[in-house]
């Protein structure tokens, strides 16, 4: 019996028309989503942080952060800030999806799972497609819980269901995009502990140097262009638009004028850069 004979004796599936990438990506995504269900603690704590942010900003900072463009003669109304705040929290939360990809891949590498996957005759990007897809899909649940919390503190969808669905779709696309950046970082991590820190550290400046919590007009002049071109700002602004929430004063910069288009372009460009980089790294990496 030669090597190839014994291979034939195992019944194989026929190759799908579009190759194996989709099938293999789905198998890996299913695995990652099962993890979510099996470790409810993890999901719970990933929900707690944004919920705490909603409550903190709504009740602690809410009265202190004025929203330019809101009627200045009216009684100070904290519900205006809460309407303004929620899309910001949504934007920040989906951006943090990247950290899950970083930690998840660092753990898989550490446990030798990446080595095993790489020794299988599977599509080589599938582990990363599955991971990023699952990490973005998990955000559906997170956004649902956040929306309910927001609703309880006075946030409302004011511009119809269709626009709102568009806003959520844009948020999920963004989650998927940053998951690729997180995946790329994760494949460079020497161990899961480092990944825990490195996965988060770039996300704080990224999310705070934006219009997520404070209006860009309140920032120093030299920071304003950075915040205006930050894709998080356009994502949050687009979401405010689509939910019919107050937007504050919109800057002259092109991304501020065309937030939906700029967000879509940013996602496309970032995926086009980081997906190939991550797959390239995946093909070369081994456990240490």
């Amino acid at each position: 019996m030669s090597a190839t004979d014994s291979l034939v004796s195992v019944p194989m599936r026929s190759r799908p028309i579009f190759g194996w990438a989709l099938h293999d990506g789905f198998v890996v995504a299913r695995r990652n989503l099962i993890q979510t269900v099996r470790v409810p603690e993890l999901l719970f704590f990933s929900l707690v942080q944004p919920v705490i942010f909603v409550l903190l900003f709504a009740f602690v900072f809410g009265g202190a952060i004025p929203i330019p463009g809101a009627d200045p003669t009216a009684e100070p109304d904290t519900s205006v800030y809460r309407q303004y705040l929620m899309p910001g929290i949504f934007g920040q939360t989906v951006a943090f999806a990247a950290a899950a990809s970083t930690v998840g891949l660092a753990e898989d590498m550490h446990r030798g799972l990446i080595d095993r996957f790489r020794s299988l005759p599977m599509a080589s990007g599938a582990v990363l497609f599955g991971r990023t897809f699952a990490d973005a899909a998990r955000q559906i649940l997170v956004l649902t819980v956040l929306s309910i919390t927001g609703f309880l503190v006075g946030w409302r969808i004011n511009d119809g269901v269709i626009s709102a669905i568009g806003a959520f779709a844009l948020l999920l696309l963004f989650a998927y995009t940053v998951a690729w950046i997180g995946a790329w970082i994760g494949l460079y991590m020497p161990n899961p502990e480092t990944a825990n820190t490195a996965g988060l550290v770039w996300l704080f400046p990224l999310t705070f140097l934006s219009n997520a919590f404070v209006p860009i007009t309140a920032m120093p002049d030299w920071l304003q262009p950075i915040a205006q071109w930050n894709p998080i700002s356009s994502l949050v602004l687009a979401a405010r638009d689509l939910f019919g929430n107050p937007t504050g004063i919109i800057g002259d910069a092109w991304p501020q004028q065309n937030p939906i288009l700029y967000t879509l372009i940013s996602c496309a460009v970032l995926i086009a850069i980081f997906a190939p980089l991550a797959i390239r790294r995946y093909r070369r990496t081994t456990a240490r």
Binding site: S2, A3, L7, V10, P11, D24, G112, D115, P121, A287
Partner: protein, 317 residues
């Protein structure tokens, strides 16, 4: 018998460190070859190159006739790999793990289902099949890990230190499973730093150190190369060690080694029990009190010490 694994002049460096320094390896079909060496000898690097995980700086290798550099996908479809870690998913159940790997080998769902059940039973995991791996012991994880690498019935199996970190009972269990696989005709390349393990499982042993093959042969040929039997004596009185050396030199066919601190004297001899009797008489005549005396065959430890000038276990720590 044709070689199913052939490596020629493999070189791999990591910066300043040379992991492989012109390694050659042949594994004939249906045999178990043990790659033996201390940590850092290049065992894992060799396995990673042969399983397409790592590209060598130079050199060539084929597995089942496929070039590991040019036909990695063909290689991947005929091999199974069990690494140093139990590379299985913590949160899935045993069955879900096997199903996932079966799906990724692109086997039909019906086949994956029957093969999964078969493997779980064979590896004594049927009762734990539908429990999350977080409830598994180390030995159970390793068995599942091995089962995962067998899901597509690979004809060539790479086992990279499969029993490292296992307790003796689990180790014996795993040895049994590996022996069964070999009986069914699977070709196995096994790396280990346990000399006993190579002795137990492998027909052919390749000893490597600093990325090169330094010796090769069956366990018996390697032992013969080191020399025949040895007589080892522990004396009662440390002061008598030198007297014991003198007495044993008369029966020895080589240099007699003494360790005063341990009160141990070791002498290579040509005969078997006759030499032992002579040694006892000689020591008795010299008035040496014997605490312990044995005649022993050389172990692979001796082989390693002779070949490399250092003990395998020391490096392993």
């Amino acid at each position: 018998m044709a070689n199913v694994i052939e490596a020629r002049d493999l070189v791999k460096t990591y910066g300043e460190v040379t992991a492989l320094d012109g390694l050659d390896l042949d594994v004939p079909e249906g045999t178990v070859v043990g790659l033996l060496g201390p940590n850092g000898a290049g065992k894992t690097t060799t396995v990673r190159i042969l399983t397409t995980l790592l590209k060598p700086d130079s050199g060539t290798a084929t597995v089942a006739g496929f070039d590991v550099l040019r036909q990695p996908d063909r290689v991947r479809s005929v091999i199974g790999l069990t690494g140093q870690y139990a590379a299985v998913d913590e949160y899935l159940t045993g069955r879900e793990n096997l199903r996932m790997f079966g799906d990724l080998y692109h086997l039909t769902p019906e086949y994956v289902r029957t093969r999964t059940t078969e493997l779980l039973e064979r590896f004594d995991l049927a009762d734990a099949a539908d429990r999350s791996l977080r409830t598994y012991s180390g030995g159970m994880r390793r068995r599942l890990d091995l089962a995962a690498s067998l899901i597509a019935k690979p004809s060539i199996l790479f086992l990279d230190e499969p029993t490292t970190g296992l307790d003796p009972r689990s180790r014996l269990g795993l040895w049994e499973v590996i022996t069964d696989l070999v009986a069914e005709g699977t070709t196995v390349l096994l790396t280990t730093q346990y000399l006993e393990e190579a002795d137990q499982l492998a027909e052919e042993i390749v000893v490597i150190d600093h990325g090169r093959v330094i010796a090769q042969g069956t366990s018996d040929t390697l032992k013969d190369a080191v020399g025949g039997n040895r007589i080892e004596v522990v004396v009662v009185d440390p002061a008598q060690v030198s007297t014991a050396v003198q007495a044993l030199t008369a029966v020895a066919n080589g240099e007699v080694i003494a360790d005063a601190e341990e009160r141990r004297v070791s002498a290579p001899v040509s005969g078997g029990s006759t030499a032992l009797v002579e040694a006892v008489r000689g020591l008795d005549a010299a008035g040496v009190g014997i605490a312990d005396i044995v005649l022993r065959r050389p172990t692979l430890d001796d082989v390693f010490l002779t070949l490399t000038g250092h003990v395998a276990e020391e490096d392993a720590a």
